[in-house]
């Protein structure tokens, strides 16, 4: 993800886009797995929060826009960077929530004991 700014100058678009594209599918899959996991383990809230992100990914995927296009990479640079930053921010929030949740449940368990 951080490659977006990397290729600002020094690496050529071919490499950068192929590297970015390699990372995209794993990311989507992890995301989806996580969301499913929450759902299965009964963390409704967390899975709900994950849902929009997943939906966005799926939508991109179905429109065939999930991969970076070498030929247009510079025209899309701005939008891509914004998109990725948003995603990152979202993921961080998600992470915090998850940790918070975990601690909370840990504490509860502790109390119960």
């Amino acid at each position: 993800m951080c490659l977006a700014d990397l290729e600002f100058d020094y690496i050529n678009p071919y490499d950068s886009s192929s590297r970015i594209n390699k990372a995209i599918m794993p990311e989507y899959i992890t995301e989806a797995a996580l969301c499913l996991f929450y759902l299965v383990t009964g963390h409704w809230c967390m899975s709900l929060i994950c849902a929009p992100y997943l939906y966005y990914n799926v939508r991109l995927y179905t429109r065939q826009k999930h991969l970076i296009d070498v030929t247009e990479i510079f025209n899309q640079l701005h939008a891509e960077k914004k998109q990725r930053l948003c995603k990152l921010f979202y993921l961080i929030v998600l992470l915090f929530l998850a940790i918070f949740w975990m601690i909370l449940t840990a504490l509860e368990d502790h109390d119960m004991d």
Binding site: N12, P13, Y14, T71, I73, N75
Partner: protein, 1042 residues
């Protein structure tokens, strides 16, 4: 607007009776300057100051007066008598036109020659039908017009004062005129009236009524008429607004003009004069126009594209406009100005544009010193750098860094700070130079020119005769391929299999190898698929001779295009070069196979619409990216008669800096000339190989987006595997800082390429533009051509991501916004209530905007243009240089019959014939023969009542036959020879494409419809706006929340 509308309808009823009311304006104006009037009348001298300009202008650009004259008749007929123009128009224009001629001819001698008097009598007649007095009276107001127009060139302030004076002056003089005009001839006055009257009288007359009470409103306001209380304004305005009509009316009556050649010569010089005015004018010069009334006087670019010729002082060393054109030659100094500009801010670059004889870019060799460049920003040495420290240092004009002058390059400075050797240093005196690049600029030895052909040999290709034409053309070009003796060449043909040819020089016949494994394509032979042309010439010749017969009986209907493409890529990737693809059948086998997704009418108008116009299979984009990476440029020649998904295949050309040639339903019999000409041009024109282009600009601004056929290698480096003179690139800039502090910004285009001779070269174009803080100045310096070029590229890109409708409304919106902004600048202070105001520099913008919306890539919807054609036109327009693009948007329409009937034809007359007519159906006379030329094709339009003589002479016995099956060939008649000569000249004016000549007879549907009628951009066809409606619409929107 409101006021005029009611007024207008009344005209038809009693156009002339209405005139008397005009008197009121007079008396009005009389009041305005009444007192002065009396003073001024006696003081003739005061008159001259402003009379003179017009007069001098007259002789100099002698076109001016006549130009005005014709205008009135047209307006006359048109607005006031909408219905009968045909019947009424001709006589009126005839007389009028004739009339102008004499005064005109006599004008030049100068003020004293009271020639107009001579002119008067002829003039009288028309008034007589009209009732003489009214036309004259209006003059009082009108003087503003002619006088106004010249003065802007002179100096606005001065004009202001004389103006009120002059007006009153007229009034008194006129009344007498009405009765005994000729008599008044004694003084200079007559001249003015004479000249004024012609232009204004008629057109003022109809306008009179609305004028009556709401004086300022003069809503009908042609700028010229403007008898408003703000006289100074008029003067300026008159100048501006007048210019357009001047240009246009001329073309309108070409029929008459051709008959009276006397009127013609001034035309050219006059245009020049007007351009001067606009570019010189100092004052704030808004033009205004009443959209509803005078369709004939609307601005039209009948002179084609006019390059911004007069550069402001101090920019004389700028590179020529054919290489670099900025959308405005005044760079805004702040973000807020940029956001108020609304039109695209950027440049159109055509780095290799063909220069006329004697103006070629000089090639310099800096072997001893190395190329001098700025240490920090890498700017090349150029005329704008300054030397300091007695010549030991130089300051970079772009980043202001002080650089050392290398010892070998050192020269002393003279007293004025100029280098003593300036005369021997073209790089310091010329805006465009070419450096021979030393080895630091190469990553590998310069590549040889390389041509690789990928030819479809499936059944449809064979049947259409394409293969034969291609083989013949290539063979005839072999001697002219650039770069002898290093040139390399190779061939692959494909149907359901891929065929390679071993052309080793030791062979006598080429060896054919067939690869059928499409899933995993491989090259059967490591070398010898690509051979040196001079060594293997005999083999190549033998191959090309046998190619057509080899596949004569091929019945294969499949096309393994994708695998063949990959194979070509593998063969070429060592060297790079140019790949020419001749494609006839939809790719159906192997990778990159395309579905017949077709042109789905249901998709139009939905969000999915744009997906039809983007490549379906990512394979093509990927291939294109790989091609560019390995310096391969692709040109696509598509011939299919069925849908062949050019949107996908054309991508190959788009991202490799290539071109798409599309010959729908190619048949050798009809199209072979076009194909062979264009292929020849493609093969033999000077080409720059493995090029990269970068455009640098001063601190604070940055080029942010690039538009055209190429691929970006990094944020600002344009990769162009093969460039030539027919390609232009556009880019937009943005400000990085909120406020620019420097006075001037510099732009430097550097194209690093390998010339066909094997030399690595850098072509550098440098230009400077002033930074301004005034929006008005930006508009004044705007370059219409560059703006239209950028707008159209943006619009075409828009069609790739949204609906056609959106792209069109985008264009529309930008024009509206720009005009509104301009209006806000001037409307309030000049109380221009109901007029459409536009800057002189952009007078054609609305028309080009309209033409753009009606151009092939943007027009209509599903049924209007076949998808492939739309895509092909899109690719073409993305690459066209400004001049050709403008011609494509607003093609020329020329009447030929008079020329053909005339016995002699010399060069001078020839120029006269090339008179462009406005693109409306009204210009087409059913007794005439017209040629329509948009730079890509010619259409000969035969009027229904054209004398059979002409048709007979041109077409021989075929004249009566269906014209679609007739081809134009030179016959044994004088007329036919003349026509062919003329067509040849038309073609020579733009050699980048071959304009195939189509013949159409009036009323021959549907051919006439799609060949001519839909292309008359000013007409209302199939739910699109006509020019007048378009202006009205623009005007209305400009006024809303203005």
């Amino acid at each position: 607007m409101g006021t005029e509308n009611p007024g207008r309808p009344s005209f038809p009823a009693s156009p002339f009776a209405a005139a008397p009311p005009t008197i009121t304006p007079f008396s009005n104006s009389g009041h305005v300057g009444g007192s002065e009037a009396s003073n001024l009348r006696p003081t003739r001298p005061s008159f001259p100051p402003n009379t003179l300009p017009p007069i001098t202008a007259g002789p100099a650009g002698s076109g001016e007066p006549p130009a005005f004259r014709p205008a009135p008749p047209t307006r006359f007929n048109d607005p006031s008598l909408p219905a009968p123009p045909s019947s009424y128009g001709p006589p009126a224009s005839g007389t009028f036109n004739r009339f102008p001629t004499p005064p005109f001819g006599s004008m030049p001698p100068g003020p004293p020659a009271r020639a107009p008097l001579v002119g008067q009598p002829p003039f009288q007649p028309p008034p007589s039908q009209v009732s003489p007095p009214p036309p004259f009276r209006p003059q009082g107001q009108i003087p503003a017009v002619p006088m106004g127009s010249p003065p802007p060139g002179v100096n606005t302030p001065q004009i202001d004062s004389p103006f009120p004076a002059s007006r009153p002056n007229f009034q008194p003089s006129f009344p007498p005129t009405a009765s005994g005009y000729p008599a008044t001839g004694a003084s200079s006055q007559p001249t003015l009236p004479g000249y004024v009257k012609q232009s204004n009288a008629p057109f003022q007359a109809p306008q009179g009524p609305p004028v009556q009470s709401p004086f300022q409103a003069t809503p009908v306001g042609y700028a010229p008429s403007a008898p408003t209380p703000t006289p100074h304004y008029l003067s300026q305005q008159g100048g501006l607004a007048q210019a357009p009509p001047v240009a246009s009316p001329y073309g309108l009556h070409s029929r008459d003009q051709i008959q009276h050649p006397g009127t013609m010569p001034p035309m050219g010089s006059m245009q020049g004069l007007i351009e001067d005015f606009s570019s010189l004018s100092i004052g704030s010069v808004p033009g205004s126009i009443d959209p509803g009334v005078d369709s004939k006087a609307l601005p039209r670019p009948l002179d084609g594209d006019v390059e911004p010729n007069s550069l402001p002082e101090g920019y004389s060393v700028n590179c020529n406009a054919r290489y670099l054109r900025l959308t405005t030659n005044a760079i805004p100094n702040s973000q807020s100005l940029v956001s108020r500009w609304h039109l695209p801010l950027g440049a159109v670059v055509c780095p290799l544009a063909e220069a006329p004889e004697g103006e070629e870019v000089s090639v310099l060799n800096f072997v001893s010193t190395g190329i001098i460049r700025c240490r920090r920003c890498r700017t090349y040495v150029n005329p704008f750098i300054t030397f300091t420290d007695s010549g030991r240092k130089w300051r970079c004009n772009i980043c202001a860094l002080l650089n050392d002058v290398p010892g070998d390059y050192f020269a002393h400075l003279d007293a004025t700070g100029r280098r003593v050797d300036l005369d021997q240093r073209p790089e310091l005196t010329k805006g465009s130079v070419e450096f021979v690049a030393p080895t630091e600029y190469m990553v590998r030895p310069p590549m040889p020119p390389l041509y690789f052909f990928l030819i479809d040999v499936s059944i449809s290709a064979v049947r259409s005769g394409m293969i034969e034409v291609v083989a013949k053309t290539i063979k005839s070009c072999l001697d002219d391929l650039p770069g002898y003796p290093r040139t390399q060449i190779g061939f692959i043909t494909y149907d359901s299999t891929v065929h390679f040819y071993n052309m080793k020089s030791s062979l006598t016949q080429p060896q054919m190898m067939v690869v059928t494994d499409l899933e995993d394509i491989f090259i059967p032979l490591p070398d010898d698929l690509l051979v040196n042309l001079s060594e293997s010439r005999t083999v190549v010749d033998a191959f090309l001779d046998s190619l057509p017969t080899m596949f004569q009986d091929n019945l294969n209907m499949e096309s393994a295009f994708g695998p063949a493409l990959k194979a070509a890529f593998m063969v070429m990737s060592q060297l790079g070069g140019k790949l020419l693809i001749f494609q006839n059948t939809m790719p159906s086998l192997g990778v990159g196979r395309l579905k017949l997704r077709g042109d789905d009418p249901r998709a139009y108008g939905t969000d999915k619409e744009h997906s039809l116009r983007v490549p379906e299979d990512p394979f093509y984009k990927q291939m294109a990216a790989d091609f560019t990476k390995y310096q391969i440029g692709v040109n696509v020649y598509a011939f299919s008669d069925k849908y062949s998904d050019l949107a996908s295949i054309g991508t190959l050309a788009k991202y490799t800096g290539g071109q798409v040639y599309y010959y729908p339903s190619f048949q050798a019999a009809n199209h072979s000339e076009k194909l062979s000409h264009e292929l020849t041009r493609d093969l033999t024109r000077e080409t720059a190989w493995e090029a990269v282009m970068r455009i640098r600009c001063g601190k604070g601004i940055r080029f942010t987006s690039y538009h055209g056929n190429f691929m970006l290698r990094s944020t600002d480096l344009v990769a162009l595997p093969a460039v030539d003179c027919d390609k232009a690139y556009a880019m937009q800039l943005s400000l990085e800082e909120t406020l620019l502090t420097n006075q001037t910004v510099y732009f430097q285009v550097a194209l690093l390429y390998t010339a066909s001779c094997g030399e690595r070269r850098i072509r550098v174009h440098t230009a400077a533009a002033p930074v301004v803080s005034d929006l008005g100045e930006m508009y004044r310096q705007a370059d219409n051509g560059a703006i239209v070029s950028l707008l159209s590229r943006l619009a075409i890109e828009k069609t790739m991501s949204s609906k056609l409708e959106d792209a069109r409304s985008n264009v529309h919106l930008r024009i509206v916004k720009a005009l509104r902004e301009y209006r806000n600048l001037y409307a309030v202070q000049h109380r221009l209530g109901g007029r459409l105001i536009y800057p002189e520099s952009l007078k054609f913008l609305p028309l080009y905007g309209l033409a753009l919306c009606k151009s092939t890539p943007l027009r209509g919807g599903y049924a209007d243009v076949p998808l492939d054609e739309r895509c092909a036109a899109g690719f073409t327009m993305m690459a066209l240089p400004v001049k050709s693009l403008l011609k494509l948007l607003y093609p020329s329409l020329i009447q030929l019959d008079d020329y053909l009937l005339k016995p002699s034809a010399n060069a001078d007359e020839f120029r006269k014939v090339m008179k462009r007519l406005p693109l409306t159906a009204d210009s087409l006379d059913s007794r005439g023969l017209y040629v329509y030329d948009d730079g890509l094709q010619l259409v000969l339009w035969f009027g229904r009542m054209l004398s059979p003589d002409i048709a007979m002479n041109l077409l021989g016995p075929d004249a009566a036959a269906e014209l679609s099956r007739v081809t134009l060939v030179e016959r044994e008649t004088e007329m036919s020879r003349k026509l062919m000569l003329l067509l040849k000249k038309l073609r020579e004016s733009d050699p980048s494409y071959y304009q195939l000549c189509h013949l159409v007879r009036q009323g021959e549907q549907p051919r006439e419809g799609f060949m001519v009628l839909t292309k008359l951009v000013e007409d209302q066809t199939g739910g699109t706006n006509g020019y007048v409606d378009w202006l009205v619409q623009l005007h209305r929107q400009v006024q809303q929340n203005a």
